[in-house]
């Protein structure tokens, strides 16, 4: 303990402490989020789910989507959007929307798992629509190579070849896909949230969607083969880095070369 108390006056002590704190917070957060994901959802809704969901809907969603989810000027009708749509929009925090804007932003989730399920049950009862995918399609054990080809043809133009996201028109954007759960990726393809087109099962088969999720998880878990990817945003970020870091190193060497030795 004596040695420790002496080292706390070391000039690097503050930095070490800060790093330790960040690591602990990050670790706890990671544990908490994986625990959230570990709870698998079921698609069998009971009548009580539907009833409870209806109450939640009336209290939280009906302002924009209308009583009975028929839609108003501020929000579209939800008849026939399916449970998958609710699970994606509410499960990623996009709904309820904070305010009207170019697109609904991802934000901390407002409803817990149980409430999301009840809302999904209610909306699914209004009309047939895409349902929450089965666990077998989300096992990330598809063909990553075929998933990669499908991704480059159908998704990469908006979401970036490295799935890092990209800009659309007038303030809208395609979000980055790293860290999005397989279930939400599947639901987004099936329902076409916001301005994303719908990729129904006739366009990309459920197996194709499973391949795409496998591919996305594979590139996410393997990381960039070339080291730091600088946001995978291409020449702007890379050029900025080279201009600042590369030129900085050259300037530092020049100063050293021309300085007098003591």
């Amino acid at each position: 303990m004596k040695a420790l108390s002496q080292k706390r006056r070391h000039p690097l002590a503050a930095i070490a402490l800060l790093l330790m704190g960040l690591l602990v917070t990050g670790g706890l957060y990671a544990v908490a989020t994986t625990m959230n994901q570990a709870k698998a959802s079921t698609t069998n809704f009971t009548e009580q789910d539907t009833e409870e969901g209806g109450k939640l809907f009336a209290a939280n969603c009906a302002t924009c989507h209308g009583m009975g989810a028929g839609g108003t000027q501020d929000g579209p009708s939800l008849v026939g959007v399916g449970a998958a749509s609710v699970d994606f929009q509410v499960g990623t925090g996009r709904m309820p929307m904070q305010m009207n804007g170019p697109q609904a932003q991802e934000k901390p989730v407002q409803f817990n798992e149980e409430q999301t399920r009840q809302l999904a049950a209610y909306v699914a009862s209004l009309g047939p629509g895409p349902s929450i995918p089965e666990a077998g399609l989300l096992d990330e054990k598809g063909n990553a190579a075929e998933g990669g080809e499908l991704f480059r043809v159908n998704c990469a133009m908006c979401h970036n070849a490295a799935a890092a996201g990209g800009a659309l028109t007038r303030g809208k954007y395609a979000p980055p896909l790293a860290g999005v759960s397989g279930q939400h990726i599947y639901e987004a393809m099936a329902t076409g949230p916001q301005n994303m087109p719908v990729f129904n099962d006739a366009n990309i088969s459920p197996e194709g969607k499973r391949d795409i999720i496998t591919y996305l998880k594979q590139i996410e878990n393997n990381g960039s083969p070339g080291g730091a990817d600088l946001g995978a945003l291409g020449p702007v970020a890379e050029g900025l880095f080279v201009w600042i870091a590369g030129l900085g190193v050259i300037i530092a060497f020049t100063i050293w070369l021309t300085s007098r030795t003591s």
Partner: protein, 358 residues
């Protein structure tokens, strides 16, 4: 010096007098006095600098070994089960090894020169720039060369040399010919033109399976290639680059087809060329609520509800529409080729467009 804070005028006692009474003469300050370095006076410091230089050279040796070990020990060959993490590790070690190997030698030499090698200053006197004799000598040399080659006396040699030099660039011009041949009509037509009266089906990119009209639900976007493209052996990419199409379905009410184009779509399903009319990037960023199509290269934006009219950006023409219908089995087919050349402008484009529509 007085107190500046109260703003009162002060006389510091110094007055500028330069150039008032005497011709100012710039004195050569000479070299600053030579300052000895630590290593020049202290043998221990010299020894330390020597060790530092040796350490830097040693670092270079280590770097070389890191490179060699990373190259030979990390096996990326087939059947080695190497993952991307292995590639990344090897790349990092190869880079670090090379960096240490090169920087170690470079910084070591510089440190050696700065700290240990003699550092006395030497001044060299300027030479006069040009002497008349030198100039005369150079002129004589040139004259001698011209005289000895005999180029003035032998016009045959002179003229053949001129001819050879004049013709020598011709091979380069011939090589430019390889930039051709001119595509001529190839740019004006795509694979969508019906073959032997058989209409081409719209098929999915990349697997080439045909698409039923009922598959295309509202809000869908399909990436489409023509039937038979995957079976091509030659020029497949060239054909694909011209024929790729984006298929979308929206509420038929929101489409506003101009007269003569009402039957180019089917129940709100429309197909447009994916090749931007600006410089030919693939326009595939479809927003299913605003019905905008965005080109990622220069942000040209096309409005699907107005027959892909340009609403923003540098493109000058709407995207060409592919007229589609449904065949007996319910599959989507192209009723004809595009009614104008797809993609960016080119020299003969107007001529080709007239001949397509005549």
């Amino acid at each position: 010096m007085g107190n500046h804070s109260d703003g009162s005028p002060n006389h510091s006692g110094t007055v500028a007098t330069a150039g008032q009474n005497e011709v100012e003469k710039f004195q050569d300050p000479g070299l600053p006095p030579h300052r000895l370095r630590l290593a020049d006076t202290d043998p221990r410091a010299a020894k330390r600098a020597e060790r530092q230089v040796a350490l830097l050279f040693g670092l270079s040796v280590v770097g070389t070994f890191i490179f060699l070990v990373a190259y030979f020990v990390i096996d990326l060959g087939e059947g080695s089960g190497a993952t991307i993490a292995d590639i990344r590790l090897q790349n990092a070690l190869l880079g670090l090894g090379t960096a240490f190997a090169m920087l170690g030698i470079g910084t070591g030499i510089v440190h050696w020169a700065k700290a240990l090698m003699p550092d006395h200053e030497v001044s060299e006197e300027r030479h006069a720039v040009r002497y008349e004799e030198d100039r005369q000598a150079a002129v004589r040399i040139v004259d001698d060369i011209v005289e000895e080659t005999g180029i003035k006396r032998r016009p045959l040699i002179r003229n053949t040399l001129l001819g050879a030099v004049a013709l020598a660039p011709l091979p380069a011009i011939a090589i430019f010919g390889d930039l051709g041949p001119r595509p001529d009509k190839a740019l004006a037509h795509t694979m969508w033109a019906p073959e032997d009266g058989k209409l081409k089906r719209l098929t999915r990119d990349p697997d080439g399976t045909p698409i039923k009209a009922s598959d295309v639900t509202i809000g869908s976007a399909f990436h489409v290639i023509p039937e038979g493209l995957n079976e091509l052996h030659e020029g497949k990419l060239n054909e694909k680059a011209k024929a790729v199409v984006l298929l979308m379905r929206l509420d038929p009410e929101s489409l506003n087809p101009s007269p003569g184009r009402e039957d180019w779509g089917y129940n709100g399903i429309v197909a447009y060329s994916k090749i931007c009319t600006h410089v030919g990037c693939p326009v595939a960023l479809y927003e299913q609520q605003t019905h905008h199509l965005l080109c990622p290269c220069h942000q040209s934006t096309f409005d699907l509800t107005k027959e892909c009219k340009v609403i923003f950006g540098p493109a000058s023409r709407p995207l060409p529409q592919l007229p589609i219908a449904v065949d007996d089995e319910g599959y989507l087919v192209a009723t004809s080729d595009f009614n104008e050349p797809v993609g960016p402008s080119y020299w003969e484009r107007d001529e080709h467009e007239r001949s397509i529509n005549s």
